[in-house]
C-alpha cells in the first residue's frame, strides 16, 4: 500500500469529531474535507479552539473514548476511520507519526534517548539490537545532533529544548513514515532555534518524500514552510489554498483580519493593529449561519441566517466559505468605511 510521490496519500471527506460532555455535544471538528498528496506539506492554521489540534489527532485516531467520529479518513487508499487502536498500532510510527509542542512532556524522563529511538525500530521494523543502535545514531545525525553516539546514553533532562525537539523528530522519523504531524512543534522554542527546526522538518520531508501536516497558530510559520494552507475556525475549514495564492489573495474576512492583527516588521512602530472583537464560538451551541459572523466586521443579515458553503475562487485549488468575500463590492464598501473611521488600519505596504 505504498503511495508514489505526488499521488494522493490522505483524503478526508466530511470528517466530524464531536465530544460528549455534560454541557452537550462539543463540535470540535465539524465537517472537514481535504486531500493531501505524498511529499506535500499542509499548514493547518487557527486560533485556540479552532479544532486544528483535534483534527490532526482525529486523523491519527488518538482520541479519548468520549469522542464520536463521522465521515471518512482514507490513508493510502485504505479507510482508517473507525479502526480500533489495535489496528491503528500498525500505522502509528510506521506510516504516520507526530511531533508535539512540548518535547519535555513527550519524552520519557526515565529512559535514555537511545532506548526511546531504538524501541520503535525493534517493534515495527524487527531490527536486532546492533542494527537498531546503528540506525539510531544515523537518525540523530540526520537531525543534526552533535556527538550522536554519546547522546544515546543521555536522559532528556540533559538536553536543551531545541535538542529535545530534534530527538522527538528523530523518533518520529525512525520507521520512515509517509505522513508526519507536527503540532505547534516550535511554539515552546526560541526564535533562532525555531527557524532551525522548521528547516530541518522541511529538509527531511524532501529527502523522504514525506507529507507533513504542520499545525500552528502562527501565519508566519506556515508562510515559509508549506505548500497548502487550511484555515480553520470554529471546527470548520473556512479557507483552503496553495500557500502563495492564499497570501496574495485572501478571500475569507477571518483570514484577512487575522493577517491584519499581526504586528509586521515592515510597519513603523506604534502602528495601530486591527483586532477581532469577541471570542471564538461556543462549539456546543454554534451561532446560526456563519460561525464567524458574530465577530465579523463585514457581516450582513444573510451571514447570521444562512451558513456559507465552500466556494471556489478564481485560482485552482482555492476555496473559501463566505457570502461577501474580500474583493466583493459589499466587503470593499464596508472596508473603506471602516478604514475611514480608523477602526480598520490600511494594509501595510509589505503585504499584497
Amino acid at each position: 500500500m505504498r503511495v508514489e510521490a505526488g499521488a494522493v496519500l490522505l483524503e478526508l471527506d466530511d470528517l466530524k469529531t464531536h465530544f460528549k460532555t455534560e454541557r452537550g455535544l462539543v463540535r470540535a471538528v465539524d465537517g472537514v474535507t481535504l486531500k493531501l498528496r505524498r511529499g506535500e506539506s499542509l499548514g493547518v492554521v487557527g486560533e485556540s479552539g479552532s479544532g486544528k489540534t483535534v483534527l490532526s489527532r482525529s486523523i491519527m485516531g488518538l482520541l479519548p473514548s468520549t469522542a464520536v467520529r463521522h465521515g471518512s479518513v482514507r490513508f493510502a487508499g485504505q479507510e482508517i476511520q473507525g479502526m480500533s487502536s489495535k489496528q491503528m498500532r500498525h500505522l502509528w510510527g510506521a506510516e504516520m507519526s507526530m511531533v508535539f509542542q512540548n518535547p519535555l512532556n513527550s519524552l520519557n524522563p526515565l529512559m535514555k534517548i537511545g532506548k526511546q529511538i531504538v524501541e520503535p525500530l525493534k517493534l515495527h521494523l524487527g531490527m536486532d539490537k546492533d542494527n537498531a543502535r546503528a540506525t539510531a545514531v544515523q537518525l540523530l545525525r540526520d537531525v543534526r545532533i552533535p556527538e550522536a553516539e554519546r547522546r544515546l546514553n543521555q536522559y532528556p533532562h540533559e538536553l536543551s529544548g531545541g535538542m529535545r525537539q530534534r530527538v522527538m523528530i528523530a523518533i518520529a522519523l525512525a520507521c520512515g513514515p509517509t505522513l508526519l504531524f507536527a503540532d505547534e512543534p516550535t511554539t515552546a522554542l526560541d526564535v533562532t532555534v525555531q527557524a532551525q527546526i522548521l528547516d530541518l522538518i522541511n529538509e527531511q520531508r524532501r529527502d523522504r518524500d514525506m507529507s507533513v501536516i504542520l499545525v500552528t497558530h502562527d501565519l508566519g510559520v506556515v508562510a515559509g514552510h508549506t505548500d497548502q494552507i487550511a484555515v480553520m475556525y470554529g471546527g470548520k475549514l473556512v479557507e483552503y489554498a496553495p500557500t502563495k495564492i492564499l497570501f496574495a489573495d485572501m478571500k475569507m474576512p477571518y483570514t484577512k483580519s487575522l493577517m491584519r492583527s499581526i504586528p509586521k516588521m515592515a510597519d513603523p512602530s506604534h502602528s495601530r493593529l486591527a483586532t477581532i472583537p469577541g471570542r471564538p464560538p461556543d462549539l456546543v451551541n454554534p451561532p446560526k449561519g456563519c460561525n464567524f459572523a458574530p465577530r465579523c466586521a463585514y457581516a450582513q443579515d444573510r451571514c447570521h441566517v444562512e451558513e456559507p458553503p465552500l466556494t471556489e475562487a478564481k485560482d485552482a485549488g482555492h476555496v473559501f466559505a463566505c457570502w461577501y468575500p474580500v474583493g466583493s463590492p459589499e466587503f470593499e464598501r464596508k472596508d473603506a468605511e471602516l478604514q475611514e473611521q480608523g477602526i480598520m488600519p490600511a494594509d501595510s505596504a509589505a503585504v499584497s
Binding site: 486560533e47 528547516d199 515559509g224 497570501f247 487575522l258 499581526i262 504586528p263 510597519d267
Partner: protein, 336 residues
C-alpha cells in the same frame, strides 16, 4: 556583547536609570548563574523601552530586579531620583506602588478564589486610598477603561474570563495605584494573535490616558517594534544594541540582532526564509564565554572577540552597539 559601556545613557527627564546591574543566583555545587552581568540603561518619562532576547538572556530577571524581586547582586536602580537598591524594605514596598508589573500568564497571576473586582480593589484597600465609595468608583472607572464590565467583574472569578480578558484585568490592577512605570513581562505571548492585538492597542491607549512609562519585555521582535520607542537587545546577560525602534529594525548593527531579525517567520511566502541561520543554541549562563559572549555563534567573530569584551559605542542618531565588528550598513552615519 559588552553592555559594560554607558555611552548610550542620556540626559533628560529620566524615570528610571539603571547602572551596572548584576544579578547572580547560586545554584549549588558552587555554581553561579550569571543572569545579568553589568547592564546599564535608562527610560525617559512617557517612553516605552522594549527589551528583547531569547530565553535565558536575562530580560525577565532585569524586569524583576527593578521591582527588587530579588534584590540585585550589585548596581544601582534609580527610580524617580531614589536608588531602590539602598532603600529599606518598608520604603521599597512604598516605591512599588509607583512601579507595577504585568506577567505572562494572566490567569495564574489572578487569585482564582476571589472575584476579579476584589483583585483590582485590593491595592487601594491595602494602601488606604480614599473612602470605600471613592475606591469603588475608581475601580469601576479603571475596569471600564480596560473594557471589562464592572458588574460582571464583581460577580465573576478569573476562570470565567478568557485569557485576553484576564490580561485586561491584570492591567486594571496594575493601574489601581496610579503608577508611573509599568513593567510588562511577556504580556501577550500567551494570547492568540487577534487578542494580542487588542491588548497591545489597549496598552497604547492607557499609556496616553494615564501618562505611563513602560518597560516592555518580550521575545517577539515584531511585537516589541510595534509598541516601543526604544529597544534594547540582550544576549546572555549583556546588552548588544540599543536604538530607537524604527532605527534598530532599519539598520541593525549587531550580528546577533541581524540573526534575530532574520529568524522571524514573516507572514509572507515570497520572503527568503533561509537567510541568516545560525547554528547551535545559547551557551549556559553558568559559564558564559569569555570576551564577547556571542562570539562562539557569531559569523563575524575573530581572535579579538574571544579575548576582549566590546563596549557599547555610538553608531550615530542615538544608536549604540557593543560589537568589535558591527555589520556595515549602507546608511551614512550622522555626526553624533
Amino acid at each position: 556583547m559588552a553592555g559594560t559601556g554607558k555611552a548610550h545613557l542620556r540626559d533628560g527627564d529620566r524615570v528610571l536609570s539603571i547602572e551596572d546591574l548584576v544579578v547572580e543566583f547560586k545554584v549549588g555545587h558552587g555554581n553561579t548563574v550569571k543572569a545579568v552581568s553589568g547592564i546599564s540603561f535608562d527610560v525617559l518619562r512617557g517612553e516605552t523601552l522594549g527589551i528583547v532576547g531569547e530565553s535565558g538572556c536575562g530580560k525577565s530577571t532585569t524586569g524583576r530586579a527593578i521591582m527588587q524581586i530579588p534584590k540585585p547582586t550589585s548596581g544601582s536602580i534609580v527610580f524617580e531620583g531614589r536608588d531602590l537598591t539602598t532603600l529599606s524594605h518598608k520604603d521599597v514596598r512604598e516605591a512599588r506602588t509607583k512601579v507595577q508589573m504585568i506577567f505572562q500568564d494572566p490567569v495564574s497571576s489572578l487569585n482564582p478564589r476571589r472575584s476579579v473586582r476584589d483583585s483590582v480593589l485590593e491595592p487601594l484597600v491595602i494602601w488606604k486610598r480614599g473612602t470605600a465609595e471613592e475606591q469603588s468608583a475608581l475601580v469601576d472607572e479603571i475596569l471600564e477603561s480596560v473594557g471589562i464590565d464592572p458588574k460582571r467583574a464583581a460577580e465573576s472569578r478569573p476562570h470565567q474570563f478568557s485569557g485576553g480578558q484576564c490580561q485586561r484585568i491584570s492591567v486594571a490592577r496594575a493601574l489601581a495605584l496610579d503608577p508611573t512605570l509599568i513593567i510588562c513581562d511577556e504580556p501577550v505571548s500567551a494570547l492568540d494573535v487577534s487578542v494580542q492585538a487588542q491588548v497591545l492597542n489597549l496598552l497604547e491607549d492607557l499609556k496616553e490616558k494615564y501618562g505611563l512609562t513602560l518597560v516592555f519585555i518580550a521575545h517577539d521582535l515584531a511585537v516589541v517594534k510595534n509598541i516601543s520607542d526604544r529597544v534594547a537587545v540582550m544576549y546572555l546577560g549583556k546588552l548588544c544594541e540599543v536604538a530607537s525602534s524604527d532605527d534598530l529594525y532599519a539598520r541593525p548593527a549587531h550580528p546577533y540582532t541581524n540573526v534575530l531579525l532574520d529568524s522571524i517567520p514573516e507572514p509572507d511566502p515570497n520572503a527568503d526564509h533561509t537567510v541568516g541561520r545560525i547554528i547551535g543554541e545559547p551557551p549556559s549562563p553558568v559559564a558564559p564565554p569569555a570576551g564577547c559572549r556571542f562570539h562562539p555563534r557569531c559569523p563575524n567573530a575573530d581572535d579579538l572577540c574571544a579575548r576582549e569584551e566590546p563596549q557599547l559605542r555610538s553608531m550615530g542618531a542615538g544608536h549604540f552597539v557593543a560589537c568589535h565588528h558591527p555589520v556595515e550598513t549602507p546608511v551614512a552615519l550622522s555626526a553624533d
